[in-house]
């Protein structure tokens, strides 16, 4: 009897060990962006698991490519009237927008069946991992989400994996329907490579309206006003600035708005062309401001993500939050707050009349089976109809200048107005300004800075990253 027990225990332990070893190898992950309520549910884990499987693929597919075995034949994105759309749109509003687009496209093209191949998690990192392995293995999706600017131009376009679609733009006469600065961001060597669907603004500062009303404060427009307001709030025992940098891009996001505020659009853009070094005195001044603004943040910033930080403002635990205007969608849709009643907004300090854009675009990869269907879809994406279907749901504004403002809420309408008059600048934190290599190194440098506050170290790291990644 006792002996049996012992065997049972040992085998239980061994089975445990085997299971564990298997678990350890799987690169399971969940969406760190997720709100706590959702995390751990099946929907969360499913796409992420997918990443795990695919993350190991590049090596194998490359080997295949090297041996001259072209995996082209089984490429998806085509087949008989099939279209695969690859994105990381799995959040509430954005998924609704994407599904509405798919519905509409399918009802216009009844013979095409659309596959929604969205991958959740890691603010797009998980999706990028899957995409990289598929592109390198010659198995591209029909079309995929990519930010305008460096992400597109220094990524797959530079790698020679995208087809130009300038002809679509000419046929549809889009050249004056989208802002010129934006078209520049999707143009490489005179060819256009994608269709922008939406515009988000990164240099927005949201604040809790009732706190500001209670203490008779005005939204700060300059750095000095910001410090003034922040000091008053601090004296009242309110956290002036909410930050959630569990994922350090949020800190980089704050820094990019400060860079633009101090440098202005022209010098800001020169950083990304390499004409202006990070060792310049203007950048040093921006770092000073960054350091000073970090004095006003919540203590538990490292344990929060961007939604948690936005929630602090929503609940009145903090007064202000610098975040892209997807936070407006989060306030209005998820938290059901009233624009201009519960929450207010302004440009981040010293960036009035300037607009850091984050634009999701879709392009045509090389070697898809059915390029005509993809072209049809891209043509559809650029239409007023598609843009006005998608954007109100996602909480972004249309990339076209002639879309219908009536479709959008108060925040959207004001932003549409700003967008048409402001000077545009690409976002660093969202991969539009600089190659992915620079962004990831800047991200690390900023993460270290938030703790160390070592100005010299930050500037040195940024300078090195610029020399290595930007010609």
């Amino acid at each position: 009897m006792k002996k049996w027990k012992r065997y049972g225990l040992v085998s239980a332990a061994m089975i445990g060990a085997v299971t564990l070893a298997a678990c350890g190898n799987e690169m399971e992950s969940i969406d760190p962006d997720a709100e706590p309520e959702n995390a751990g549910t099946e929907t969360e884990n499913e796409p992420a698991d997918d990443t795990g499987g695919n993350a190991e693929e590049p090596a194998d597919e490359n080997e295949a490519a090297e041996n001259g075995e072209n995996a082209d034949g089984e490429a998806s994105g085509g087949g008989e009237g099939e279209l695969e759309i690859f994105s990381w749109w799995t959040g509430a509003g954005e998924e609704a927008g994407l599904l509405a687009l798919i519905d509409q496209f399918e009802s216009d093209n009844p013979d095409v069946s659309v596959v929604n191949a969205a991958v959740a998690g890691g603010a797009g990192t998980n999706a990028q991992a899957v995409l990289a392995s598929r592109m390198q293995g010659n198995d591209p999706p029909g079309t995929f989400q990519i930010h305008a600017g460096a992400a597109l131009n220094t990524g797959w376009v530079e790698a020679g994996r995208m087809e130009p679609i300038t002809d679509i733009w000419e046929e549809e006469e889009w050249m004056d329907k989208f802002p010129e600065d934006l078209i520049d961001m999707i143009t490489s060597d005179g060819e256009i490579y994608s269709v922008p669907v939406n515009i988000h603004r990164s240099n927005t500062m949201f604040f809790n309206q009732s706190i500001f009303d209670e203490y008779g404060l005005e939204a700060p427009t300059t750095f000095d006003e910001f410090y003034d307001v922040a000091d008053q709030l601090e004296a009242e025992g309110i956290v002036p600035l909410a930050l959630g940098d569990t994922e350090s891009w949020t800190a980089l996001h704050l820094f990019e708005t400060i860079l633009l505020g101090v440098l202005g659009p022209d010098s800001y853009n020169q950083l990304w062309s390499g004409e202006l070094g990070f060792d310049s005195p203007e950048v040093a001044e921006a770092v000073e401001h960054f350091d000073r603004m970090l004095e006003y943040i919540n203590d538990d910033h490292a344990a929060r993500n961007w939604q948690d930080a936005a929630q602090m403002v929503a609940q009145g635990d903090a007064a202000m939050n610098v975040m892209g205007d997807w936070a407006a969608g989060y306030f209005a849709t998820d938290l059901e707050l009233e624009p201009n009643v519960d929450f207010g907004w302004a440009e981040t300090p010293d960036t009035e009349g300037e607009f850091i854009i984050v634009s999701d675009t879709f392009g045509l990869p090389q070697d898809v089976d059915d390029p005509d269907t993809v072209r049809d879809f891209l043509t559809f994406l650029g239409s007023v109809e598609a843009q006005d279907t998608f954007n109100p749901l996602k909480g972004s504004i249309p990339a076209r200048v002639d879309a219908d403002p009536e479709q959008y809420n108060e925040y959207g309408q004001e932003t549409i107005d700003d967008f048409q008059n402001a000077s545009l600048a690409p976002s660093l934190a969202h991969n539009s300004a600089a190659p992915a290599g620079f962004v990831s190194q800047a991200d690390q440098a900023v993460n270290i800075f938030v703790s160390s506050r070592n100005h010299e170290q930050l500037i040195d790291s940024l300078q090195t990253a610029q020399e290595e990644n930007i010609q």
């Binding site: 040992v10 445990g16 751990g40 993350a55 993460n447």
Partner: protein, 309 residues
């Protein structure tokens, strides 16, 4: 067995093993070599570039703040995790072994966390050890003025400047929060192993020691511990190799942490490869992790082989 050639049985056995031998040769060893090759190239953008870079990627890593922080964290995580699992497992096993009522119940209580995935554990402990919610609410309620910062603490205990990469070498306090979660999940395993081990020690041996006048302490030191040695080694090997390549728990619970206090090479590898497109650099990290694990596993395998023959 001489000159008769290989028997039919052996051929058959070989035939049955062949598919898995081929699969492992390609999908495990093939890709390890491929990763090793990539780690020596300049492929650090989306465009594959297989020009030879020598040890450039490795040299970079050994001067890199983030990588060295990750290595430091891994070392201390592994150390404390092993200590925790061994101590807790042994303690609970002796407790259950002492003819406790409801043994079945307790055994399963402690084994249960093992059924969870590290991701689930990570999410749960992320909330429990959150500096502004979770157990800290309890501490505040009890009137503690300063509460622990758990996994967001940037303190490096007993720290001193490390000559490479500008990092501070010492015990990253934030990592201890992760250790708590990992020990909670894995104690069941060492408990089961130790319980089996304790049951395997015949009462006669202990009785004999008692007759010879040994104290309980002496019995543990001179009889029980030595007889449990093989089990301790197995637990250390199995848990050690897991903790050296830990990824999911960290990714779900803390991410790389403020100032990289909870970063580990696995997370760095994933992010540098797929966010930064530094493919060769990611491959180099993978190879270093492989070497680390091999340092533990290979002596064990050699030893096990000696034991067999």
């Amino acid at each position: 067995m001489q000159s008769k050639g290989i028997s039919k049985d052996k051929w058959l056995a070989f035939l049955f093993l062949l598919p898995s031998i081929i699969a492992i040769a390609v999908f495990v060893y093939g890709f390890i070599s491929w990763t090793g090759y990539v780690s020596l190239t300049n492929w650090n953008t989306l465009t594959p570039d297989f020009s030879f870079a020598g040890l450039r990627n490795y040299i970079f890593l050994f001067n890199d703040y983030r990588f060295l922080s990750g290595m430091r964290n891994t070392i201390f995580f592994t150390l404390f995790f092993l200590l925790g699992v061994l101590a807790m497992g042994f303690f609970l096993a002796s407790f259950i072994d002492s003819n406790l009522k409801g043994e079945f119940f307790f055994r399963n209580i402690f084994l249960f966390p093992m059924a969870l995935s590290f991701v689930v554990t990570g999410v749960v402990w992320q909330w429990l050890l959150n500096p502004s919610t979770g157990v800290n609410l309890l501490f505040t309620m009890l009137g503690f003025e300063s509460v622990p910062q758990w996994y967001t603490s940037t303190t490096i205990a007993f720290g001193f400047p490390f000559p490479l990469g500008g990092i501070e070498f010492g015990i990253p306090v934030a990592m201890l929060a992760v250790v708590i979660a990992a020990v909670w999940q894995m104690t069941g395993f060492s408990l089961a192993m130790y319980l089996a081990g304790l049951r395997g020690i015949p009462d006669e041996v202990k009785e004999a020691a008692r007759v010879d006048g040994a104290s309980e302490f002496h019995i543990y030191r001179k009889v029980i511990f030595p007889m449990l040695m093989p089990i301790t080694v197995s637990v250390v090997i199995i848990m050690g190799h897991m903790s050296l390549k830990i990824f999911d728990l960290i990714y779900a619970m803390t991410g790389s942490g403020p100032n990289f206090v909870t970063d580990v090479p696995g997370v760095y590898m994933f992010e540098t490869t797929f966010r930064g497109n530094f493919f060769a650099q990611g491959a180099a990290i993978a190879i270093i992790m492989l070497v680390l694990v091999a340092v533990i596993i290979v002596p064990y395998l050699i030893n096990a082989r000696k034991g067999e023959s």
